[in-house]
């Protein structure tokens, strides 16, 4: 099959894996601004799968689709540096506060407009770990979904996918179009390509161009545009977006403060270790 069109779903996320002490504000809430914003790790695994298909078959194009604030254009550039052909940023105030279902509604409309044969996304994003958006987008499109993918290739007009399950693997065959979500156990994404970095360094969305200082324009760089879509571009019903379109509500947020309990402090000395072992044997914890 030639001329396959792939959309990669990607999200810019705060790097919750490296939350340092300064990441909490004095009132105990999370200070998002000090957390670095990164390309969601499993979405990079997804991008790699798309790029492998592009290398293997003729005429495949890879479009990155992300929803987020203007600065999320950063991950589109990141994708372009690694081999994606173009990118679409879904950005609009109306999207703010969307839960996974409202997010999926918007993404599904954008996917419809792009009309790809394959949608590939990461299994889940590290800021929520829900793994819901992929399947919900698939359902909104009425397409099959294949989750936890590790490897895939085309066979005739079907995609053959190996999935990682809890205690094994499964290989499935699906017609196109479909939505695939990729597991973190899939191959890592390739690095940026120097040539592509030079080519796309100045790729900007319209909003970025307006906001940016004139040095970009002064440098006389070719204007490679990143497509920017809002609510109207995808024909979304605002009622289905944001807080009003989200069935789940956050009732309460509690900041985690670990309860201190009386603990016995010991050293690695023979005396301390032996007395601990004896104590555990005496109170029947071990032995």
């Amino acid at each position: 099959m030639n001329g396959i069109k792939i959309v990669v779903l990607a999200k810019q996320v705060p790097d919750t894996r490296n939350v340092g002490p300064d990441a909490m504000k004095a009132d105990g809430t999370v200070n998002r601004s000090v957390l670095p914003a990164i390309f969601n790790p499993e979405d990079l695994n997804a991008l790699e799968q798309a790029l492998r298909i592009k290398e293997r078959y003729k005429g495949v194009t890879v479009t990155l689709l992300t929803m987020g604030p203007v600065r999320a254009a950063e991950i589109i550039r990141e994708g372009l540096y690694r081999g994606a052909d173009d990118g679409v940023l879904l950005t609009d105030r109306a999207f703010a506060g969307s839960d996974t279902l409202a997010t999926s509604y918007a993404l599904a409309l954008a996917v419809k407009r792009l009309a790809p044969d394959i949608v590939i996304g990461g299994r889940q994003a590290i800021d929520g770990d829900t793994a819901q958006v992929g399947p919900q987008v698939a359902e909104k499109l009425g397409w099959p979904q294949v989750t936890y993918a590790e490897e895939m290739h085309l066979e005739g007009d079907r995609l053959i996918i190996r999935r990682r399950l809890e205690r094994g693997v499964e290989t499935v065959s699906s017609p196109l179009p479909l939505v695939v979500t990729v597991n973190g156990t899939a191959p890592s994404c390739r690095y940026r390509h120097a040539r592509l970095l030079m080519k796309y360094k100045y790729a900007r969305t319209d909003t970025e161009l307006q906001a940016e200082s004139s040095d970009y324009i002064a440098a006389g760089r070719p204007a490679i545009k990143i497509t920017e879509w809002g609510v109207e571009a995808i024909g979304a019903d605002p009622e289905q977006l944001g807080l009003s379109g989200s069935p789940t509500k956050v009732k309460e947020i509690e900041n985690v403060i670990l309860q201190a309990k009386e603990s016995k402090r010991l050293t690695a000395s023979d005396k301390d270790i032996e007395s601990l072992v004896r104590e555990l044997i005496e109170n029947h914890t071990i032995g």
Binding site: D129, Q132, K140, P144, K249, V256, E274
Partner: protein, 339 residues
């Protein structure tokens, strides 16, 4: 009508552990709500399966038994579950946060336009007052889960949409038989009413599922290693200690991600929840995602070099030292003192 439903999965032909745990929790929530507990189970060759579910206090077991349902596939399972839910209008629907539940749950919630909360660590019933409209929602399902990398605990509710859906990982809830002779009703689902030919478009070509081997949940003593162990080789020390004490080896997510141990040994929010008599945390800093899966342990020993490690604050014993030095000593003195 408006009962509490639990989607039950099969594991090697038997109801999965996580499903039985959810039935146990579901029974107690149903008691609070004054509604019935219903189970739904899909598969092939399920004769008599209902008798394994009734003892958990299940009032109705819905069974869909057909060769096309032998192995889980997204589309036919979604069609049966959404079809049944449209008909039965459950107020709450729970499923395991397994590879199946996490594939099926979002698909079903999208089809029914209902809210779903993944990987809950707590489920409670409570009210919710909205000041703006002066409305009180009675008896909502509080879906409690860590979020934002475990730095916050969020309580999520779905005030206006039904069913209120949640997934829960294995080991988070306790499993308990209510009554061996509990009598419930069996209802067979006619799948031809729900499944469309296009639901069968995805074919399973091959399947290799390993039998369940490592079972850290059942272990009374767990020796667990974190990223601080430094290497896969250093994990050998943990296996040695575990074998001497008659326990199992577990690991934190960071250690599993680093390749020090297999995912089946992972303890925490995205792994298994354990409640052993003794939990020995070696080189584990103790992020909330990890402690959420082990803080109910009888006794906790933390061995690490970091006096400020969060794990120390929940440990009964903190050994400040190098694991490579401490573990051989533990083995030595255990051998010398054990009767």
């Amino acid at each position: 009508m408006n009962n509490l439903f639990v989607f039950c999965e099969l594991d090697e032909g038997r109801p999965a552990e996580v499903s039985l745990e959810l039935l146990t929790r579901g029974r107690s929530l149903a008691n609070t709500l004054g509604c019935r507990l219903e189970a739904v189970i899909l598969g092939s060759g399920l004769d008599g399966i209902e008798n394994e579910l009734f003892p958990y206090g299940v009032d109705v077991v819905h069974v869909a038994d057909d060769p096309v349902l032998e192995h889980y596939r997204t589309m036919p399972y979604t069609s049966v579950i959404t079809g049944l839910f449209r008909q039965e209008q459950p107020q709450i629907a729970l499923m395991g946060a397994t590879t199946t539940g996490r594939d099926l749950g979002p698909r079903v919630s999208s089809a029914l336009h209902s809210g779903l909360t993944a990987d809950c660590t707590g489920l409670e019933i409570g009210d919710h007052y909205v000041k703006k409209t002066d409305t009180t929602y009675k008896n909502l399902l509080y879906q409690i889960r860590p979020a934002f990398g475990g730095n916050i605990i969020a309580t999520i509710i779905n005030p206006d949409h039904r069913p209120q859906m949640a997934t829960v990982r294995e080991g988070v809830m306790k499993r308990e038989i209510v009554n061996k002779n509990y009598s419930g009703e069996l209802k067979k689902i006619d799948i031809s009413a729900f499944i469309k030919p296009e639901d069968l478009a995805v074919e399973i070509l091959e399947r290799h599922i390993e039998p369940r081997k490592v079972d850290i949940k059942a272990a009374q003593i767990i020796v667990s290693g974190g990223y601080g162990m430094g290497s896969k080789e250093n994990f050998a020390l943990l296996y040695e200690l575990a074998s001497v004490l008659g326990g199992e080896v577990a690991a934190s997510r960071a250690a599993v991600d680093a390749g020090y141990a297999g995912h089946e040994r992972q303890v925490g929010q995205t792994g298994v929840t354990v409640r052993p008599k003794l939990y020995i945390a070696c080189g584990i800093s103790g992020q909330i995602q990890h402690t959420a899966g082990m803080d109910q342990s009888g006794k906790i020993i933390a061995i690490n070099n970091d006096p400020m490690a969060p794990i120390n604050s929940i440990a009964d014993y903190v050994i400040n030292g190098d694991v490579a030095e401490v573990i051989p000593k533990l083995i030595k003195y255990y051998r010398a003192n054990a009767k």
